[in-house]
């Protein structure tokens, strides 16, 4: 490895890091991604500049093959199919690591000539890479609905089987490290690890998939770092480790945002704990609801053109009107139109919402009556329902047996997305369940309305 290539590697990973920093904010993300891509290009070119490179045609073949498959796939995939695409890309990365490890084993005659740490790193890469490859493929299959999205288990056998697979893979690896050089040993490692990947991901439900993909992503990173150790390649070490570390944190953040714990998810896959598959944090109902976070609500609104605020009795109880006004001010400062949809019977007294919003100095022109609101919703990107319930309940139109049947409602679902702020899944004045909360367009932000809005305000300031 020449000094020049090494310097290029340092430049490359610096660009990765710089790009990644950009990726953490919506404003700089696009640029960050391209900066990282430039880093990658530099790393690849640097590698090709290494003295003594050969097999040029094969290398070209591999790259062309990859590009021919990867570029159109990435270009054509539908927005909705993005998650499975990410899973697939992650999988092939892991696969590459596993294959390289295999070849290393073969070309070094079972690591005969290498120091022990190279063997260990390479075998670690093989195991983790194989798990990632197969696990990601299963994740892809489930998301693409080639496999059932529902948990698939082999029942009580799950746990012993998984343990057995882990032991098998490790046993083969130890045998190799101890000097074994039979090709079957490395195949044993790869197969056992691959089966493990399959078995662990199969039982995981669709809702948990994003977290699992992120976890596999972190794994692939770690396997790349291990491969870097084995090949003594700084670029691989740094890039792999960064992905491993940031991926772990990201996994953790995602799990938290979904109100799930990683151990619970993996345990589920491992056949342990009874944690089911559905998302939704602490919903009293059995049906799944989607819960969201203040920062997500903030971003969703920050990139909207029009936001409709739908206040209800909960806003009054929480006395959240001042915070709501502050939020609207921030949004308006970003050029976003904010209107208030006032239902005639929102609250507990005629004009209840008016009294509160006037106190918070919301301009009269922004308050829209029901009819006008209903004609505005279709143009709204986000409807923010703040402690309102009955006045948004579609049962009033659809269910003749409902006590509120016949009451006109605010058709929040005609807007592009709905965020509902309330403390729990409990019902409002009429004491009935609200279909709106289970609508796929709806995300629930649980908590006291004032606290939630204040959090959103804080997040908005950071955007």
């Amino acid at each position: 490895m020449t000094t020049f290539v090494s310097v290029l590697y340092i430049i490359a990973f610096s660009l990765f890091i710089y790009g990644l920093m950009g990726l953490t904010g919506p404003r700089t993300a696009v640029r960050g991604n391209w900066i990282a891509a430039v880093g990658m290009a530099i790393a690849v070119i640097a590698t090709l500049l290494l003295p003594g490179m050969g097999n040029w045609w094969l290398i070209a073949l591999g790259i062309v093959l990859g590009a021919v498959v990867g570029v159109p796939a990435a270009r054509r995939v539908k927005m909705t199919a993005m998650p499975q695409m990410v899973a697939l890309f992650n999988g092939v990365g892991g696969g590459a690591v596993a294959l390289i490890a295999w070849v290393e084993f073969r070309t070094t005659n079972g690591y005969d000539t290498e120091p022990l740490y190279v063997a260990i790193a390479s075998l670690f890469a093989a195991i983790v890479g194989s798990v990632s490859f197969w696990g990601s493929n299963i994740a892809f299959g489930k998301l693409q609905e080639l496999l059932s999205g529902r948990p698939i288990t082999v029942g009580r056998l799950q746990q012993p089987l998984n343990v057995a697979l882990v032991l098998a893979a490790v046993a083969c690896a130890v045998a190799i490290a101890a000097g074994g050089d039979s090709e079957w040993l490395i195949i044993g490692v790869l197969v056992a690890a691959g089966l493990l990947g399959v078995m662990v991901v199969l039982p995981i439900g669709g809702a948990d998939m994003p977290v699992v993909i992120s976890l596999l992503n972190a794994f692939t990173g770690l396997s790349a770092a291990a491969m870097g150790l084995a090949l003594d390649n700084t670029a691989l070490i740094v890039a792999g480790m960064i992905v491993g570390a940031s991926g772990s944190i990201l996994t953790n953040l995602m799990a938290k945002a979904m109100n799930r714990s990683i151990p619970a998810i993996v345990a589920g896959g491992f056949g342990g704990g009874g944690a089911g598959a559905a998302g939704g944090g602490g919903a009293a109902q059995d049906r799944p609801v989607r819960s969201t976070s203040a920062s997500d609500a903030a971003i969703q609104m920050a990139y909207a053109s029009k936001v409709m605020v739908v206040p209800g009795y909960g806003m009054a109880v929480a006395q959240a009107q001042h915070a709501v006004r502050e939020m609207a001010d921030l949004l308006e400062a970003k050029g976003i139109e904010v209107l208030y949809a006032i239902h005639p019977v929102a609250g507990r007294m005629p004009g209840h919402m008016n009294v509160l919003l006037a106190e918070a100095d919301v301009p009269y022109e922004s308050l829209k009556e029901m009819d006008e609101s209903n004609s505005q919703f279709p143009q709204a990107d986000v409807s923010l329902v703040i402690g309102a319930n009955d006045v948004t309940n579609p049962a009033a139109q659809s269910d003749p047996n409902s006590p509120i049947y016949g009451m006109p409602i605010l058709n929040v679902t005609s807007s592009r997305s709905v965020i509902v702020l309330k403390r729990s899944m409990s019902s409002g004045f009429a004491g009935i369940d609200n279909e709106l909360f289970y609508d796929p367009k709806t995300a629930m932000l649980f908590g006291d309305a004032k606290a939630s809005v204040s959090e959103i305000v804080e997040e908005l300031k950071n955007i």
């Binding site: 609250g347 007294m349 004009g351 106190e359 049947y405």
Partner: protein
């Protein structure tokens, strides 16, 4: 029962002294006209609410003998004389005070009139747009707070000025239904320290939700349909005792406590009035059913123990433009429930709202 030709709707001039509201406003005449209904206006009916006849005519009404229309819309309960002016078979809609004006109701029955009392509309979600009790109580609550501010020889808001600091007035509202909540909200807006009290415990949260404080005396009495029940003798005594203690600290007491069909509960005793500071004000909105204050003289403003006690009987009529507008909307919604799209009568007594509101004529109904 279904009639053959589109109906005529009569908007009569109110006969009760001081009643300035009118049962229909021009904006809604148009809406009825669209269904083919003919609106007949008694000349001058809208004058009290700043609505000259021409505005009605422009909107599609005609002036004439409104009393002999098929459907007569009224605001205040009709007198016996009023009822005699109606032709048999007339549908009468308005405040009819069915639980207290028993003679009049009997007269309607005798005259073959189908009468819908807006106070009897069940308070279900679907009927909220027809809920004239709410809409008028809302006006009443607002006016009661204004009246109190006007009668109090002090400021409502706190003011720190070069000539000294004035503390905020303390306002207590007894009974936090629609009127009570609006009174609380209005007093609060004006800067007073507003406190609410009620026997229904769930109201505490509602009182706080308008930014007011809650006075907890530890007495609960939840009745049916969201209304309060009457208290037992001992509960009443206990309540009066505790309220008397509390009231001394307030500058203004607004009372709105009603129990449907019964005499209003006495919440403010003579002793409580004596305990108040000179110049304090009591606005008793329950005057019509005897008042919540022992010393109230319904309809009068008196001064007792240097406390002004007002008992306005018809607060909504003091703000006739908006009160009429809201009321007319309530009636129109109800009317549309008993009239089909062609403007013919189509009363469906199986509808709980219709059935609940009908106080005369159903038994003898055409069905």
């Amino acid at each position: 029962m279904v009639t053959e030709t589109p109906l005529t709707i009569g908007v009569v001039k109110e006969t009760k002294p001081g009643e300035r509201r009118v049962a229909l406003v021009p904006k809604l005449v148009q809406r009825l006209a669209k269904r083919g209904l003919r609106v007949v206006l008694e000349p001058g009916a809208g004058a009290g609410a700043q609505l000259p006849d021409d505005l009605f005519v422009e909107a599609g009404a005609e002036t004439g003998d409104a009393w002999s229309a098929d459907v007569v819309l009224k605001v205040a309960p009709p007198s016996i004389a009023d009822i005699e002016r109606l032709k048999p078979g007339t549908v009468l809609i308005g405040f009819l005070a069915p639980l207290s004006n028993l003679d009049e109701i009997a007269a309607m029955r005798k005259a073959g009139i189908t009468a819908f009392a807006v106070e009897s509309i069940p308070r279900i979600s679907r009927a909220q747009a027809m809920d004239a009790l709410s809409s008028q109580a809302n006006v009443g609550g607002y006016r009661a707070a204004l009246l109190a501010a006007q009668r109090l020889p002090k400021f409502f808001p706190m003011l720190t000025t070069a000539a000294g600091t004035v503390p905020p007035a303390k306002v207590l509202v007894l009974g936090a239904g629609v009127a009570g909540l609006q009174a609380l909200a209005t007093a609060k807006r004006l800067g007073a320290q507003a406190t609410g009290y009620d026997v229904r415990p769930e109201v505490a949260e509602q009182v706080r939700s308008v930014g007011a404080q809650w006075l907890d005396l530890g007495i609960e009495a939840v009745g049916e349909g969201g209304y309060a029940r009457e208290l037992t003798e001992s509960e009443r005594a206990e309540q009066q005792r505790r309220l008397t203690e509390a009231i001394g600290g307030f500058d203004v007491v607004i009372t709105t406590a009603l129990v449907p069909g019964r005499k209003a509960p006495t919440l403010v005793t003579a002793e409580a009035v004596r305990g108040m500071r000179p110049g304090s004000v009591i606005v008793d909105m329950a005057g019509e059913t005897g008042g919540n204050c022992e010393l109230t003289e319904p309809g009068e403003d008196i001064v007792a123990h240097e406390v002004t006690i007002c008992s306005p009987l018809n607060l909504p009529a003091e703000m006739p433009v908006h009160a009429s507008e809201l009321y007319a909307r309530n009636l129109t919604e109800l009317l549309e429930l008993i009239v089909n799209d062609d403007g013919r009568l189509a009363i469906d007594f199986s509808d709980e709202v219709v059935a609940g509101a009908c106080v005369a004529g159903r038994a003898e109904g055409v069905e």
